[in-house]
């Protein structure tokens, strides 16, 4: 069950945070997202020679915290997508698919001429699409 998604800009400024459970503390989720930014920076700035290619966008599992898993995705403009989930067994392919659709929704939101790059994303269509993607991701992993 995904708990939270976040979009963080290239100067690590938050552009969009949405959590999907009421039970957990929103502040704790924000904190987890913030810590994962450090992991991303470390992965990007010190590439391991034997690790993934320098120019891959999907960063994979960033780090496990408590019972959460945090996945990261980096776009060409250094905008980061973070997914926090409590699913025990999550397939790599389904997370990649999730991020691909999320990136699609993000590109559409940014193409809006009234969107100022660097400011928060306020589009309701974007919020609606993200909820739809998250719910289909959640249902696809639980039925397996």
């Amino acid at each position: 069950m995904s708990v939270c998604v976040a979009v963080v800009g290239h100067q690590n400024n938050p552009l969009y945070i949405q959590s999907f459970t009421d039970a957990d503390d929103a502040l704790k989720l924000h904190h987890i997202v913030h810590c994962s930014l450090d992991v991303i920076d470390e992965r990007v700035n010190n590439p391991k020679k034997s690790g993934p290619l320098l120019n891959e966008t999907f960063l994979g599992l960033l780090y496990p915290a408590d019972n959460y898993k945090v996945f990261g995705y980096l776009t060409n403009t250094k905008v980061k997508f973070i997914l926090v989930t409590t699913d025990v067994d999550v397939r790599d392919a389904s997370v990649r698919n999730f991020f691909r659709r999320f990136h699609s929704a993000y590109v559409d939101a940014v193409s809006n001429p009234f969107h100022v790059p660097g400011k928060k994303i306020t589009s309701k269509t974007f919020a609606g699409r993200v909820s739809a993607i998250v719910s289909s991701f959640g249902s696809s992993t639980t039925t397996d």
Binding site: N55, E56, T57, F58, T75, N76, T77, K78, H103, V110
Partner: protein
């Protein structure tokens, strides 16, 4: 076998799949819109440099969005980290999507290490524009220069981009060159990456 094709003949017109639609925009529509953009900006400014800056800023916003869209749509989500990579991306992919063809040429500047030039015999945006003599060296290609700057900036390669007319012998209209001058940090990073 002769006559084996992919298209089926549909008996009922309602059974045909919906076409993707034309992928092109009419040139006249764009030319009129761009001319209005230039005219509007002309009423707002007092001098040529300001007009050029405004066109460039308009192009910058376009460039930032085009980069996001193209990376997702065309390049299969790979990031460009090398200088030559991003330059060839601008030169072919971006040009192809914006103007329907790749740019005429991409050259490295001879005097300075950090200068690169993209040349075009006739920029699409300049096709129906002739600049009056009293405006000096003003070039509406500043819009395209802004687009290139937006793409490079978004990808992490800050640069100063300008458009210039270069007279060519044997041709009535001069050739347009987009001059890209990268910032110091880009060269340092490129040298570090080896």
């Amino acid at each position: 076998m002769i006559g084996v094709g992919k298209t089926k003949q549909y008996a009922n017109v309602l059974d045909r799949p919906i076409s993707k639609g034309k992928q092109e925009v009419s040139l006249s529509a764009f030319a009129f819109l761009f001319s209005e953009l230039v005219q509007y900006n002309q009423t707002q400014v007092d001098n040529i440099a300001e007009l050029e800056r405004r066109l460039e800023d308009a192009g910058y916003a376009v460039g930032a969005r085009v980069l996001e869209l193209l990376c997702h749509r065309e390049k299969g989500n790979r990031r460009e980290t090398r200088l030559l990579g991003i330059l060839s991306f601008v030169h072919s992919t971006v040009w192809k999507v914006l103007f329907g063809k790749v740019a005429d040429s991409l050259e490295k500047g001879t005097e300075h290490e950090d200068e690169y030039m993209i040349s075009e015999k006739e920029l699409l945006v300049n096709r129906f524009i002739s600049v009056p003599k009293d405006m000096g060296t003003f070039n509406c290609g500043a819009f395209v220069a802004g687009i290139v700057r937006g793409v490079l900036d978004g990808a992490g390669f800050p640069a100063v981009v300008t458009a210039h007319f270069v007279p060519v012998d044997g041709q009535q209209r001069p050739r347009t060159t987009i001059l890209i001058k990268f910032a110091e940090e880009v060269l340092v990073r490129e040298a570090r990456l080896g």
